[in-house]
Symmetry: C2
Subunit: 312 residues, 2 copies
């Protein structure tokens, strides 16, 4: 019995070493220090519908704080109700991702931010016009000047991107049951969740879903029913990238349904089943499936509390 307990302890040490808890903040790039002024400005811009041609779509429309900072729709719905090709990922913990978008076409949040403003099926906005609209308001001039005091023209596309990136780097969800468990609080996860964690490691999920955000940031081939999407191939033109998508974070995955790049799968149960089949060539029995799903629920962390900013 004692030997058994010791073995179990060793096992647990192994599992604990496989995973990493989520730090409070993601890496901050050297050229975009995280200041309160930028975060505050970025928050205003994140909720600012005047960054869209219609004047009613903001980042928060699709990355809705009420809906896990996503939209709970299969695919993003933007300008004039157009439905895009891909599922809207949560922006929670997006600062921990080594690249942005399902196809990884942008290296960081700074590079990512100006995409949706201009995308014809998202905010459909001319960037110059967006800047002109913003520059009409004294309060924005003040906020940009405070956030970028050394710039001659603080209201610039680059600084919009810097501010949005800074705000998003604060949208993290630490202290999930999983994180508390990893830090030594053995009661933080249920027994079923602990079993799920072990199954997740033993079956090789952790090969791709690794690191603090539970993603390797790499691209893997995955085909789904629904609209066809060439995935990473669009970026590289390389044959092996056809239908390959970046491993998404599993942080808060219980609140960011539906699943996969085209949002065609509604439940975690079905998502895990498909992952087993396609990524591991394996069919899980019901118990294992339920354990893994229970574990994924333990990845929901403390949600950031964000008061809606008063816009000018």
């Amino acid at each position: 019995l004692l030997a058994g307990a010791a073995a179990a302890d060793d096992d647990m040490d192994y599992y604990m070493s496989v995973f990493e808890p989520l730090p409070a903040l993601p890496p901050i790039p050297a050229d975009n220090s995280l200041t309160a002024a930028k975060v505050e400005l970025g928050k205003m811009l994140f909720f600012e519908p005047r960054l869209s041609a219609s004047g009613v779509i903001s980042c928060a429309t699709c990355h809705n704080p009420a809906l896990g900072w996503a939209d709970r729709l299969p695919r993003g719905t933007g300008h004039e109700g157009q439905i895009g090709l891909r599922n809207t990922p949560t922006v929670l913990n997006s600062g921990f991702l080594p690249n942005q978008f399902w196809d990884g076409r942008e290296p960081d949040l700074e590079g990512q931010a100006l995409g949706p403003i201009q995308a014809p099926d998202e905010m459909a906005m001319d960037l110059e016009e967006a800047l002109e609209r913003i520059a009409e308001f004294d309060i924005y001039i003040e906020h940009f000047t405070r956030a970028f005091p050394e710039d001659e023209t603080p209201i610039s596309a680059e600084n919009v991107a810097y501010a949005l990136a800074s705000f998003q780097r604060t949208l993290n969800t630490p202290n999930s049951p999983f994180d508390r468990f990893l830090r030594g609080d053995q009661g933080a996860m249920t027994e079923q969740q602990v079993r799920g964690m072990m199954a997740f490691a033993d079956n090789g999920c952790v090969a791709c879903h690794q690191g603090p955000a539970l993603t390797d940031g790499l691209f893997h081939r995955f085909e789904l029913p629904g609209p066809t999407d060439l995935g990473r191939f669009v970026v590289t033109g390389e044959e092996h990238d056809r239908y390959a998508f970046r491993t998404p974070t599993l942080r808060n995955v219980a609140v960011t349904y539906p699943y996969f790049h085209n949002g065609s799968i509604d439940t975690l149960h079905d998502a895990v089943n498909l992952m087993g089949e396609q990524m591991l060539g394996q069919e899980f029995d019901d118990d294992t499936l339920n354990d893994i799903v229970a574990f994924l629920h333990a990845l929901t962390g403390e949600q950031p509390v964000v008061n809606i900013p008063a816009l000018p």
Copy 2:
């Protein structure tokens, strides 16, 4: 000098008697008592984009808390980017209005609530389908049951309306500089604002903009450049109602630009000018105009702090 001060005091008594401060709560109808459970549910529904056909438009899209609970657009922009006929009024203090909509076609917030869900150019949603979507979530079943414990089928269109009305009755903005002034704090308004208040009363604005919300709830003929709108005529078919609109509240009017039923006027300055010309046949000099505008700024009250609800 003493006599002059006494006369001024009498004057002030007169002005103080013309106006009414905003109570903390509007009248509560006998058949819809204001309970915490209804308010909480109503808040969820107010932010719930699944009440729209597209799944991305909620009441908060157009009545955006970041934008004075309106949209700062000339006219409402809804389903598939369609632009409606009328300017989106703020829902702040809407419980104080004796009827709802620019044409007063609904008597109260209960009657009002189901309109925008179904309007083809707003949320374009089938009501039955909306209820079905909501009923899929255990958390909504719980909230409806808690809010309407005596109902056999708590999830009903009627109860959606009751809950939305209840939430909106909490969106009030007391303690504006004007209210504090009326309650005896003489320093709450600037001297210019006090002069503006007097001009507002002396020139007869208060004939229509009266009572706690500064509206008589009645319909007055008003023509504007821009799209033609028959106004109250659509409701009554009476000739004298052609182009007549309900006097809007002036509470928070500084933050609910642009102005008038079609949103064609951008500034308070121009709005007051037009009111003088059309409603009073009077042209104000610049000083009077500026005083009145300064007074209208004193009508901006404490904005409700609403944390974005976590939706299922």
